[in-house]
Symmetry: C2
Subunit: 404 residues, 2 copies
Amino acid sequence: MFKVNDNYQKLPGSYLFSTIARKVSEYQAAHPDKTLIRLGIGDVTQPLAPAIIDAMHSAVDEMGDAATFRGYAPDLGYEFLRNAIAENDYRARGCDIRADEIFVSDGAKSDSGNIQEIFSVDNRIAVCDPVYPVYVDSNVMAGRTGTYDPTTEVWSDVIYMPCTKENNFVPEFPKETPDMIYLCLPNNPTGTTLKKSQLQEWVDYANRVGAVIIYDGAYEAYISEDDVAHTIYECEGAKTCAIELKSFSKNAGFTGVRLGYTVVPKELKCGDVSLHAMWARRHGTKFNGAPYIVQRAGETVYSEAGKAQLAEQVAYYMKNAAAIRSGLAETGFEVFGGVNAPYIWLKTPDQMTSWEFFDYLLGTANVVGTPGSGFGPSGEGYFRLTAFGTYENTLAALERIKKL
Amino acid sequence: MFKVNDNYQKLPGSYLFSTIARKVSEYQAAHPDKTLIRLGIGDVTQPLAPAIIDAMHSAVDEMGDAATFRGYAPDLGYEFLRNAIAENDYRARGCDIRADEIFVSDGAKSDSGNIQEIFSVDNRIAVCDPVYPVYVDSNVMAGRTGTYDPTTEVWSDVIYMPCTKENNFVPEFPKETPDMIYLCLPNNPTGTTLKKSQLQEWVDYANRVGAVIIYDGAYEAYISEDDVAHTIYECEGAKTCAIELKSFSKNAGFTGVRLGYTVVPKELKCGDVSLHAMWARRHGTKFNGAPYIVQRAGETVYSEAGKAQLAEQVAYYMKNAAAIRSGLAETGFEVFGGVNAPYIWLKTPDQMTSWEFFDYLLGTANVVGTPGSGFGPSGEGYFRLTAFGTYENTLAALERIKKL
């Protein structure tokens, strides 16, 4: 008789955002007259930029003509896109990342879930706490996390690096030495980030202890301060210890378009085993490329028109972030983030738990947010609001919250 | 110090089609004057059908308008697509598969590589030999296949079910009992398939021994004979033992568009553990949906116009298949397949190995095919040609082969 992967049975409940979707849909069904404002899931609301729409129409036309039709894409992604990424995201920042170190994918969620596959199941992982749940969940499925304590919501074999207002959301080097360190910077959900000098310390630490850093830079486009690195490869020595994941979802609104990439430098090795070769093998065996049309859309992100239009989109969302930050602060909330990221992280009032505040906000203000505890044990007592709504909805949500 | 997944080091060489691509590109570089005809990789050449192009343009326009913009897709895929699949691919064939048992993905390659994750690493897999290499390779990466013998090209813990001309390409029940049985029907690479009564025997066998069947139906659209099942769920009892993978690459030319789906019936369980729930968790954690534009393209595959246009495409490729079959037979080759599938499987002449014939065909006729041994040990001495070229190229390739 076949057996299943028992690690799946250890996972408590469902994926965070699936749970929220269910709760919201149940509430809406029970209260069909209420108009909800969704500042929960980190989904964008602005339409794709005109330059990107034009590029996609052209690519669709190419697919309809035998002379320009494209079948299977090259394993790593089309050169036109990898070259644009290497030039704009790396060389323009002084980082020597080459096009053949870039793997184009269908999005950073897939990559952040899949990347652990090329590592030993014996590796010990360290995560910022709170953080994007996919890192821990994908390692639970692989069997790296030990047992789960439902009371503390802690996995026995995961090294948690608390990021709270007490340490100014800066993770400290853990007491136990990790093998794989997940860093999401700017951080989802706290909206905070590290200064470049602080990130350099992590790179030095990883090289010293022989750990690999999985660096998720999905929110890079929202960095507004000068002393923050836009890629981990701005730090010296990062090419021997870091893999970087990037998304087009937040800088270009591709949540429903699906595009991302992963950088695995050729210098990154375990003994004489090249991680680049391993990821290439994984990519070539279990993935068949992002759609041609989508890769052309990605290329346009780096065009002059694309850059200008997307800068406006980012500014639009950051105007929301500023409004939420100041609006909540005026109302007496303790707020963090929102300066280098489209997320506002707030302390729940009156000692409410994260889920209590979720239910309270949904039921009283009809505003959907995300419970901080869903991102890790140290997220308990916090709550995330996103700046990805429309400006009108964002202001309306603030008005409702002020009346609570 | 972090460690890597050692199973990757067991993999011999690179992914089959990457090796072919390298060899071809080296040959072309050395002989820039030669015009190659590629009948190797199973990539289509006809452009997308007009109805699909129209649907994609409309969907692109929707993405450019705030009122119709779509962000993250629902976890399982959009209902409009899942309903069209359930109606056309299942209910129209008398199979009671519901829309919520269908998981939309970025293609059958991803699904066929990923599906093994929800099973125990202790499970024993059985594969038809020869077969699409992803089944074995993805299980090597997971550590299910034991050790590799480079001389025999056999994995110690894989149960091979030889499909050769001696048994008319019909796999026999293995002596050792497998836990997971991969069936690709119509088969890639042999182009042969089972009658429905023979498939029913496999379903009965799986239910009897407690095995799960991973059924890859990527080539279903090419079935031309009446007594062949178009889905495994035409067989009684399949819903308690079978997962079905489907692709849009071959029936609709989506190799560069990327769309597929997997059916996990809710009745499929291991004890009281639902495989549907497990796959939903995997899908929700490590994947973020196929692009909206692509899902609209998929919906159009089931429209009246889409069906009519795609039937023409399939007929076009099958005309190629018939030409290759008869042309090679006239030249004295022993040929198989090509009746219910777009692949022709031929016995190499003069006792050549598969790779010898590959090099010979490339160097002498400048025609690219696929060595049978790349699909498994019993593929040695065979060779695959695809019908996915243009008609003109197919005839030209035949002329060259006849002159050998």
